[in-house]
Each structure stands twice: as C-alpha cells, then as structure tokens.
C-alpha cells in the first residue's frame, strides 16, 4: 500500500448503537428492564485518499457524518470496520508520534486558558508538544504575525472577541507545526471580515508549510476560497469527490442566463427561451437546461439587440442542495 498519501481510508464505517426511546411512561418503565437498541450508520463505507498539501472541503448537512469522519481521522473514534491511515498511523491507537503531527480545531471549543493571556497557553502547548525553544519561538512569532495577533496575545483570553479568540485558538493549535489539520467549522459564528481573515490565513499557511487541510464548514465562501477539492457526504456516504468546478457540472442541470437588451421587448416573450426567474421589458433572468445553453444563447443573440449577457452556474450552496436532493430521490 502506498503510504505517501496523507490520508487513506477504505470502507471506513461507524455504526452507533442507540437506545430506542418511545414516548410515555409505560415505554420508559419497559426500557428499564429491557433496553431496545437500534443501529445508526453514521458513516457507511467511505474510501478516501488525500495527498500531502491538499486542502479538502468536507461538505454535508448536519448529521451527514462529517464530524464522525473527522473524529475517526483524528483518533477520537474507533471505526466499526474498514481501515484508516493518517500520516502512516492508525489514528485510533492515539500514538504520541501521531498526535504530535496533527491538530484538530473545533470552532465551538475553547482550548485556551480563559483567564490568562494567550501567550501563557502557547507556553503550555510548547510543553505539551515538547517543542525545542528555537522552533517554538519561530513558529509562534510567525503565527502571531500571519494572524495579526500582536496586540492581542498579552490580553486575557476572556477579554477577546469571538473572532479574536478563534485566531488565537488557531495559532495555538498550529504551534507544533502539524502536517495535517482537521478543522471542524473553524469560522462558525464569526463575522464576515473575520471569516475572510481566517480563510486567507489558512490558504497562506497551507502554501507556506504544505500541510494537508481537511475542513468542514457551512459557509460556501470558505469552500470557494480554500478548497480546490470538495467531498460531499450525505447519510454517511460520499456523494461527490472532485474539483469544486465539476460539482456544478454534475449536479446542476441548469445554468442561469442574465440578459440585458438595448430596446424593450414584450416580457411575455421570454418564456420561449427557458424558465423566467425575473423579467422587465429590458432585462431578464432565465433558467436554462445545461445542454440547451449554447443554443438558447445563440437564438437570443439572433432575436434581440443584446447589450449584455452572462451565463452563470447556480450559487454553490444551491448546487450542494441539488446534490443532496438528488441523493434523496433514488433515480
């Protein structure tokens, strides 16, 4: 097996046994005696291969199995079956050598000492990861610089805003120069400016150090800015794995045409080109089948005096919704 990939999984599965709870006192009493269980497949046979230095966006609705997969990759969960190797290690063994080379950031978790400046938490991380002084200082100062933390690291963490805290949190989890980053919703709840800041930092960090990054997010802007490759997961199975640009090719059956005319026309005449999303006498937004796009564009251009015409893929979150919808309807 080639072990130069950052992550390799085959048939990775996680099944949880959950007690079945029925409403009502009688059922509750019965369950005291004999608990009934039901198997819930959180991740159902996932094959993955991620190369060193890749940034992969991990998308899916709540409960799709994203976090469960990340937890199996970071060693917090033992797979029910299947194999998993990250940086050549089996994560669930939680070997020190492995833990020292990876990091897991959860957007809603705080690992910094609440009442103390972030610098003190950095010192603690240095001790935990057994970092030699020169490397620690170099890495720390670089992160402070890249994340623009200079004025914040000596204030008690409790006095920082949510976004500032997240930046300090990210710095803290990268001090040991991990080779692979698992980021679970790193931008959750942050304002738009701060999201953008963290995104550009992650892209920059990846470029500089060549670390592999796997991130889950609900913000499509994160994906568009960072991830060349996306993996869409739904009901514990991979629905799509490929370049972000191919995602629309595969799932969006339509494109959006926006036409602006030099002279007004009868608004009702738009419907012969496609589904009308919005229209005025001089302007229309149309939904056109992917295959028919070229022909429709040609006929609009020949029928009208066109000032401006754009063809767009639908917004990425719409595409993803379409992908989920396609998974729901067995075809």
């Amino acid at each position: 097996m080639p072990s130069d990939a950052a992550v390799i999984t085959t048939g990775l599965r996680k099944v949880f046994r959950v007690p079945v709870r029925e409403a009502g006192l009688a059922a509750a009493t019965r369950s005291l005696v004999r608990r009934e269980h039901r198997d819930v497949v959180a991740v159902g046979g996932v094959d993955l291969r991620i190369e060193p230095g890749e940034v992969v966006g991990f998308l899916g609705p709540n409960g799709a199995g994203k976090t469960t997969t990340l937890k199996m990759l970071s060693g917090l969960l033992h797979p029910t079956s299947g194999t998993v190797r990250v940086l050549g290690h089996e994560p669930f063994r939680r070997e020190r050598d492995y833990l020292r080379r990876m990091t897991l950031v959860m957007g809603n978790r705080n690992q910094l000492q609440w009442d103390l400046p972030a610098l003190d938490s950095f010192e603690l991380s240095r001790a935990i990861y057994r970092l030699p002084e020169d490397l620690f200082l170099r890495q720390r100062d670089e992160l402070i610089d890249l994340l623009d933390l200079g004025a914040l690291v000596d204030k008690p963490v409790r006095n920082l805003s949510l976004g500032e805290r997240m930046k300090a949190e990210i710095a803290n989890s990268l001090l040991h120069r991990p080779e692979i980053l698992f980021l679970d919703e790193p931008t959750l709840g942050l304002d738009v400016t701060m999201q953008r800041r963290i995104r550009s930092f992650l892209a920059d960090y990846n470029r500089r150090h060549g670390a592999s990054v796997m991130l889950t997010t609900h913000y499509m802007a994160d994906v568009e800015a960072l991830c060349k490759r996306v993996i869409v997961i739904h009901h514990g199975a991979i629905l799509f794995d490929g370049a972000l640009t191919d995602l629309s090719e595969q799932f969006a059956a339509h494109k959006t045409l926006v036409v602006t005319l030099e002279r007004p026309t009868d608004p009702s005449s738009w419907s012969r080109y496609g589904d009308v999303v919005a229209s005025t006498p001089t302007r229309a937004t149309l939904r056109v089948g992917r295959e028919a796009t070229a022909a429709v564009v040609a006929s609009i251009l020949s029928d009208h005096d066109v000032r401006d015409l754009t063809v767009e893929d639908p917004p990425i979150d719409e595409v993803i919704e379409l992908a989920f919808a396609s998974a729901e309807a067995p075809s």
Binding site: G75, N108, G210
Partner: protein, 288 residues
C-alpha cells in the same frame, strides 16, 4: 502544483527535534503550575470566601469535641482541648490540600467536549489535573496561613512537633494530594460507563468521611473501625498527615505512614492506568 511539492518535502526534511521526555514533563508541570497560580490568584477573593465557608465544618467538630474534653475532665481518648484544636486547625490545611478534580466534573467534561480536546493532545490528561491543581495548592497554602493564625488565636492549639514531624508532614500533604487525585480520578471514570454515578460518589464520600479521620481523629473511633480503615486509602489522605504534625506519633509510625502513602500512590497510579485505557476504549467506541 510545484509549490506544494517543494514545501511538502521541506516539512518532511525538517523533523522536529523534540525535547527529551524528562525535561518535557518538568516543563509541563512547571507551566501548568505557573498558569494555575496566575489564574487562581486572580480569584483570590472567591478562593478566600470558599475557604472561610469551609472552616465551618472543622470548627463544628472542634467545638463539640472541646466541649466533651472539658466535660470529661480535660481529656478524651488522649486528646485535650489543645490537641483537638491543633488537629482541626491542621485539618483545614489538609482538607484544602486534598480538594482535587471532583468525580462529578467528568460528566461536564465529556458533555462540553473538553475531554475530546484533551484526547488529541500527546499527553495523558491526568497531568493537567495534577499540575494545575498542584499550582492551586500553592495559592491555597499562602491564603491559608492567615486563616490558621486567626483560628490559632481563637482556639489555642497545643502543637509541638519535632523537626522530623514537620518534614514528614510537608511530604505527607503532597502524598495525600496525590492519593486523593488518583482515587477520585478512578471514581470519576465510572462516568464513562454509566449515568447513575451520583449514588456511588455519595457512598464513597460518606465512607471517606467516617474512615479517614475527617469527622473525628481515628483514635476516637471504635477498634474495629480503626482496623477496617487500615486496609483503605482514606486515612492516608486525612488522618495520617494531620497526626504526622499534631501527634502523638513515633518515628517508626511516621516512616510506616509515608510508606503506606507510597503504596497507595502506586496502587492508584496502576489502577488509573488500566481504568483509563478501558474508559478511552469505551469512549472512542461510542461517543467521541
């Protein structure tokens, strides 16, 4: 993708020259204690109020037993009003020393994801608790001194330890700290396996109250209770450190007591090691 390729090789080319284990542990404990001292010092008022609230318990015991000693002609089971005072004043320090991470805290630790956060770090989580509570103890000892002064003025203790007793006491309070940390960790780990832990914890603490010397000096207990206590770790965390300083205690008893503490530390550490493995296995199988 040439950029990625070149950088990827540099990461592999620059393996980190990790610090040696022993130095890393010294650094870890040093840092944990330092940060915890800084943190707890910020909460000194809260710490003080908490410590003062705690004084009520030993003062109640003390007043009751001083009353009895006086009614019995000055002495009960070898204790005078003065030695009772010494016992329960030293009690306050020993009690503060053996407040450790509560077994009730595990539920929150698991629910709030702090446990997950600790599991991805390359250090056994018990070191955080041992290190940071040890730092807190330093603050507690500093805050305790004036309280002890006031109590001594009010209750007039008779305290005349030898140098050997003082040294043994200084060691024994840390031994007590370690033993109680390990055993309460062990107890707390039950949280991984069942949700009905409160009852077990309560029973444990009740047994501890009676068998440790917390309620009354073990010498005042019936013979069979004293015998029973010899086979349990409780007395090493309460009665022994107090008696080490207050007496009456012989040189041999001091040494035996310290060795017994060492024994319980080893037992606790081994038990924690195995229980932790089982607990993590269970945790990574079902919750994460």
């Amino acid at each position: 993708m040439t950029a990625t390729d070149t950088v990827a090789t540099t990461l592999a080319d620059r393996p980190i020259d990790y610090e040696p284990t022993w130095r890393a542990y010294i650094r870890l404990y040093g840092t944990l204690m330092r940060t915890s001292i800084a943190q707890q010092f910020q909460y000194r008022t809260a710490n003080y109020l908490y410590m003062i609230g705690m004084i009520a318990e030993p003062v109640v015991y003390l007043v009751v037993w001083q009353t009895i000693a006086e009614a019995q002609g000055g002495e009960v089971g070898g204790y005078t009003a003065g030695t009772f005072a010494a016992y329960y004043i030293v009690w306050t320090l020993v009690r503060n020393m053996n407040i450790v991470f509560t077994p009730f805290g595990w539920e929150e630790r698991i629910r709030e994801g702090q446990l997950s956060a600790q599991l991805v770090l390359p250090v056994h989580p018990i070191h955080y608790d041992l290190g940071s509570f040890a730092g807190w103890k330093v603050v507690v000892i500093a805050l305790w001194l004036p309280i002890a002064g006031v109590l001594a003025l009010v209750f007039r203790p008779t305290l005349d330890p030898t140098a050997g007793q003082i040294v043994a006491f200084a060691v024994a309070i840390w031994g007590a700290y370690l033993i109680r940390s390990l055993f309460l960790w062990l107890l707390g780990m039950l949280t991984f396996f069942t949700t009905r832990v409160t009852a077990i914890f309560e029973a444990y603490f009740a047994a501890e109250l009676l068998l440790s010397g917390r309620l009354i000096p073990m010498a005042l207990m019936p013979e069979w209770v004293q015998t029973l206590a010899m086979f349990l770790p409780f007395e090493s965390t309460f009665g022994f450190p107090i008696t080490a300083l207050v007496g009456p205690i012989t040189q041999e008893e001091l040494v035996v007591g310290l060795l017994l503490q060492l024994f319980w530390i080893v037992v606790g550490a081994v038990a924690v090691r195995f229980a932790w493995r089982g607990a993590v296995k269970h945790y990574t199988a079902v919750s994460g």
